[in-house]
Symmetry: C2
Subunit: 403 residues, 2 copies
């Protein structure tokens, strides 16, 4: 299908991959687009062609035959340890390390920014509710590659962060960069991958071909695509995106008062959920007698979604939705190990149409295994960059009376 098409090359350095026409485009250059909401909950695994695409810079044109991933152990100059550098080809990554597969949801920090923007203006791409997707990722374990590069337990004395540099760059030659805590990268339970496959096929160009680091439970921005370099360091990435972006601030912080150093870089994301069906403004016919409500729910840090409450009266009364963690039905479902619930849950609820009203305000809110809940309203979590928009999601639906 669409994926088989040859990506269009736009000069030797960049690619313009073919993109599915159904995607909702937020920006063309660089390409940023999301899934139509109703497609998002059609399958537990988001097909790669529909998976949201969030590119900070043009898609680099990388030759897999000559591609090298650099891994550097950047010991402090005053340490006795020498530096260490390992260079791996794509074949090395595929053949020298066991292949692992992890199903993980990735969400953009800006998912649902449009809800926040509606409440009060923010700066950023105007994402709807679908800058999130769930895929199966396969590749070498980041942990295995770090150990092969010479990382030892002794290094945990100074090593605090693992930095990632992309091969995508701006006109000045600045590459995309980010970092994650060392503990997440090196832990057996962290399940971080250097992925070369997405949903059982070669990683698409828009998703980081040939290698993307997948950091389950962690904001999309740290799942660096077109990965060129890994650095084990005492320091966080010094990149713009780590230091001066992708941070959460108080609603009282504005562009004149913002102090980037005062907030931690976003890593694990908070509990989130949204309604995909019906759409806001939809009309249902009274003769249908009932309405089926669908959506997704997910939490960062490997915390499992344990419940989704749905209201059709604006949050006055609630019903419990049915959760799905596969397409197989309840029998095929297994509970992930504690702290390693990387994948979302889809949910569904069918309710009779209320008799005493022509309007329904449908609301959803999710609960994770640490019993964190979503905030009720947006303004108290508003922040100038419009990230972390996880207040209750609401859609308004009208009931069309029979003639």
């Amino acid at each position: 299908p669409e994926e088989a098409a040859e990506p269009e090359s736009i000069g030797p350095l960049f690619l313009r991959p073919e993109r599915h026409p159904v995607l909702r485009i937020n920006n063309l250059k660089p390409f940023n687009a999301e899934t139509p909401p109703e497609i998002l909950t059609e399958s537990y695994i988001t097909p790669s062609v529909f998976f949201y695409k969030r590119n900070h810079l043009p898609v680099p044109n990388i030759d897999p035959a000559t591609y090298k991933l650099q891994i550097e152990i950047q010991a402090p100059t005053n340490s006795e340890r020498g530096g260490g550098v390992l260079s791996l080809s794509l074949d090395d990554l595929k053949n020298k390390f066991p292949k692992h597969t992890v199903t993980a949801t990735i969400q953009c920090a800006g998912n649902r920014r449009s809800d926040m923007h509606k409440a009060k203006q923010v700066k950023g791409l105007n994402w709807g509710i679908a800058a999130i997707g769930n895929a199966s990722w396969s590749g070498a374990k980041l942990r295995d590659v770090l150990l092969a590069a010479g990382y030892t337990l002794d290094d945990s004395k100074w090593a605090q962060h693992v930095q990632f540099e992309g091969l995508d760059q701006d006109v000045a030659g600045t590459t995309y960069g980010a970092s994650i805590p060392l503990k997440k990268a090196i832990s057996e339970d962290g399940d971080c991958l250097l992925a070369y496959e997405m949903n059982g096929e070669v990683l698409p160009a828009d998703h980081g071909f040939p290698i993307r680091v997948v950091v389950p439970g962690t904001v999309g921005a740290r799942n660096v695509k077109w990965l060129g370099k890994i650095i084990v360091s005492a320091e966080e990435s010094s990149s713009h995106w780590q230091q001066n972006d992708y941070k959460g601030f108080s609603p009282s912080t504005d562009w004149d008062t913002v102090d980037y150093k005062s907030a931690p870089a976003i890593q694990e994301l908070p509990i989130q959920s949204a309604i995909t069906v019906p759409a806001d403004g939809a009309i249902v016919d009274r003769s249908e007698e009932e309405v089926t409500i669908k959506g997704y729910a997910w939490s960062g840090g490997g915390r499992e979604v344990v419940r989704v409450d749905v209201s059709i009266d604006g949050g006055n009364t609630w019903k419990i939705a049915q959760l799905k963690c596969s397409d197989k039905g309840a029998d095929g479902e297994t509970t992930p190990p504690p702290g390693r619930a990387w994948a979302w849950k889809l949910w569904e609820l069918t309710v009779p149409l209320p008799e005493d009203t022509k309007e329904m305000e449908i609301v959803c809110k999710a609960v994770d295994s640490s019993y964190n809940m979503q905030p009720d309203t947006i303004l108290p979590i508003w922040n100038l960059r419009g990230v972390l928009s996880n207040a209750w999601h609401k859609v308004n639906v009208r009931i069309q009376e029979e003639e």
Copy 2:
């Protein structure tokens, strides 16, 4: 001081320790009492005499000279592994294992239940905002003791939970019991202790003398006091408190429909904060010109509190409070390792009295390192047992005009 007093023995089996008269008693038998709020934020470490006391059963009278802690590796009958039992005296625990000290906040699942009860009736002790405290705990690492009892990596194939049994029991001989996930108990980073000291002194009778398991970041109910037995198992504790209590339910669940199996046992607690000063209903004098607001903030699972927002206009506008993570002032403060922020932060904010009003509704809300926020209101998180009450905390204060 108070602690030096001999506990009063009430028969050979039970003790009635002397208790500080300032404690606010919620129940006498068993004894349940909390700290006066204004005392809670007077010191970063809560003195043991003021620390909330939550006893499910009478305080057992344990002779430290004959005390034994049993540790059992309960391999499934179909496994090749034999069973393993280790018995340790108090001297063994003190002398055969390195002593570790961890500063950890412990919070009752029912903290702030009274706020929830006010919104709609719940069943349980009517805790105010002070069923929480922060202490320094010293003892053997649970991990070290499990390894000494013969636990090996191989056992992780079947072992899922670590159960704790208290020596406190009801008239029918049923002992208090609870369990935690194995991963939390065995992980180097879990920092679970078999504590024999609280704040540098012998563990007081009300806090579990001679041994209490301290499970940092986890609800009080799993921090079992008067510990008699540890069982490594494939199963959760079968106790009432693990299976049919200390679980969170939907606001739509009532006593007729509750299905205990449908919700996970509470382990990590969600983000929490409360205002200790001024008290609800307090009156401040206009001539004072400003008001200092104080409180605490804490999150479970080792997630660090990164910000506290405070409003004096009911949540319309917010200011950022100053955080303290010691009594030493900013210079003496160090950041805990990621995922191991076990201790609360105290916070403070001084604001001018607003000129245009005689009433202030003061509100606080905290943010943790996963950017989880507190829910705005109580009714949508209401649950029949009144646990997990972590909506924004509010106090109303009146400004007394000058004559």
